[in-house]
């Protein structure tokens, strides 16, 4: 029988054909660890996938890398979707990766980081959205499992610290796939009821998967939308969930949440005692200050010596008078007075000189007058002749048949005219 020899190419082609025909190899799901990770200049990823006993090479084409939500590196535990095929030129088989995610916890952590970054960018963690927790709440709501450790811790703490409140439990599934809807729904319900002053949401400790409900966007949104202040209390001190960031206050544990939600009896007693003492002090201070004020009034000089009031009045009057006296008008009046006196004096002088002059004139005139006084002329022997009481200067005016009167300086003569002789 003649032997048929295949070429290498034919062999590899055949093998590739067989691989590609196998449905099991066309869609494989693989869990592995990355090693020999290389990024090709074109963006393709070359790597080796291994577990503790075996390894296989793999390639992820650049077109598939866009769906990656992490930066692969050696040592990463990953889950992979892809197919197995033969690379003919080298005769090797390898895995062609379609989809690659970090495995398990790694993957959850990644989703957490992604959502946290997203919500933070939306401003949902901002301080300005945080509501204050009321100091003395009347009703406290708790969204948690009614049978879990969290509610037990919360009730215990509240009974010790501040048993005046009512606690309303909004029962929720706090783990498993339905947790997120359940938690979100109960937060919304509490807001609709609007019966509580503050809402605690949370659960006791557990694995990261157990707490996962509190890392879901739907829960974050319900917390953000809540009009009731929310204290988150998920797991232990070291567990930070998305709910913690969106809530108004983060408590490290459910017990801590209860402490944050209510004041402590002890503190209130202290406040009350302080207040009572403060009031006593204040009242005493008040009375003392009033008493002091009263004694100040009693001690007042006016009370002791009422005449002081008048003395003071008198003093102020004198003072006023002095001021008035010192005031300008007085000077002005003096000035006026002086002016008047001066004027008077000048007027007097003027009048006196006028009078003197007049008198001199009068004397002189009198002397002149004396010279022409008819009496003084008549004393020298002159007489005045009147006829019918009319002085006659000429004999032509004198009638012969009538009497004439001849006046001397010391008397008159009634005479008859005997004869008229006219001087030529």
């Amino acid at each position: 029988m003649e032997r048929i020899y295949l070429t290498v190419t034919a062999l590899n082609r055949y093998l590739k054909y067989r691989f590609d025909q196998d449905d099991n190899l066309q869609k494989i799901l693989l869990k592995a660890e990355i090693s020999n990770f290389k990024r090709h200049s074109r963006g393709h990823l070359y790597l080796t996938l291994k577990d503790d006993k075996s390894q296989v090479s793999a390639i992820m084409f650049v077109s598939n890398t866009k769906s990656l939500n992490f930066n692969p590196k050696d040592g990463d535990k990953v889950i992979i979707e892809g197919n197995v095929s033969v690379y003919e030129p080298y005769g090797t088989y390898q895995i062609y990766i379609n989809k690659m995610d970090l495995d398990g916890v790694g993957n959850l952590y990644l989703a957490y980081e992604k959502l946290k970054a997203k919500l933070e960018e939306m401003g949902m963690f901002k301080e300005e959205h945080k509501m204050p927790i009321p100091k003395y709440p009347k009703v406290i709501g708790v969204v948690t499992s009614p049978t879990g450790a969290a509610i037990r811790d919360i009730i215990n703490i509240i009974n010790i610290r501040y048993p005046l409140v009512k606690i309303i439990i909004y029962p929720a599934l706090v783990q498993g796939v339905n947790a997120k809807e359940s938690i979100s729904k109960q937060i919304n319900l509490a807001n609709k009821d609007n019966l509580v002053d503050v809402l605690i949401i949370g659960r006791g400790g557990g694995s990261i998967e157990d707490l996962w409900g509190f890392n879901e966007e739907i829960v974050a949104r319900s917390i953000y939308a809540s009009k009731i202040p929310i204290i988150s209390a998920v797991g232990h001190e070291t567990d930070f969930t998305i709910a913690d960031f969106v809530s108004d206050v983060r408590a490290s544990t459910p017990s801590h949440a209860a402490e944050l939600a209510v004041p402590s009896k002890k503190d209130i007693y202290k406040i009350l005692d302080n207040n009572i003492r403060r009031m006593e002090v204040l009242l005493n201070q008040y009375i003392e200050s009033k008493a002091k004020h009263f004694s100040q009034i009693i001690e007042n000089n006016y009370f002791k010596n009422p005449s002081k009031i008048f003395e003071n009045k008198k003093l102020s009057m004198i003072y006023l008078e002095e001021r008035l006296n010192a005031y300008q008008p007085r000077k002005q009046i003096e000035n006026y007075k002086n002016t008047i006196t001066n004027n008077n004096r000048r007027l007097n002088q003027a009048i006196i000189s006028i009078l003197n002059e007049s008198r001199n004139n009068f004397i002189r005139l009198n002397e002149k007058l004396d010279l022409v006084n008819p009496l003084s002329i008549m004393k020298k022997g002159y007489t005045i002749v009147k006829q019918d009481d009319v002085i006659k200067n000429s004999i032509n005016d004198v009638s012969v048949d009538k009497k004439i009167t001849v006046s001397f300086y010391d008397g008159e003569l009634d005479c008859n005219v005997l004869k008229k002789r006219v001087r030529k």
């Binding site: 009321p134 100091k135 003395y136 709440p137 009347k138 406290i140 009614p146 509610i151 037990r152 009730i155 509240i158 009974n159 501040y162 048993p163 005046l164 409140v165 009512k166 606690i167 309303i168 439990i169 909004y170 029962p171 109960q186 319900l189 509490a190 009821d193 009896k265 209130i268 007693y269 406040i271 009350l272 207040n275 009572i276 403060r278 009031m279 006593e280 204040l282 009242l283 201070q285 008040y286 009375i287 200050s289 009033k290």
Partner: protein, 69 residues
């Protein structure tokens, strides 16, 4: 008059002390404020002492039910 809640009492006590501190009340008012303050403080004290356990309720589809853990 409606019974004041614990919170309202604590608040009123604070306000009252503020008023006392201001010092501009009459003697009569001050004494009244003091008396009222002492009464309030004692009431608060008593309420806390007498309260033993918080009331527990469970929100169900039918509304609130008593809850016994």
């Amino acid at each position: 008059m409606k019974e004041l809640t614990f919170e309202e009492k604590m608040k009123e006590l604070e306000e009252l002390i503020k008023k006392l501190e201001s010092g501009d009340n009459s003697l009569d008012e001050s004494v009244k404020l003091y008396k009222k303050g002492i009464t309030l403080a004692k009431e608060c004290h008593q309420e806390l002492e007498e309260a033993e356990k918080a009331i527990l309720e469970l929100r169900t589809e039918n509304g609130l039910e008593e809850f016994n853990k």
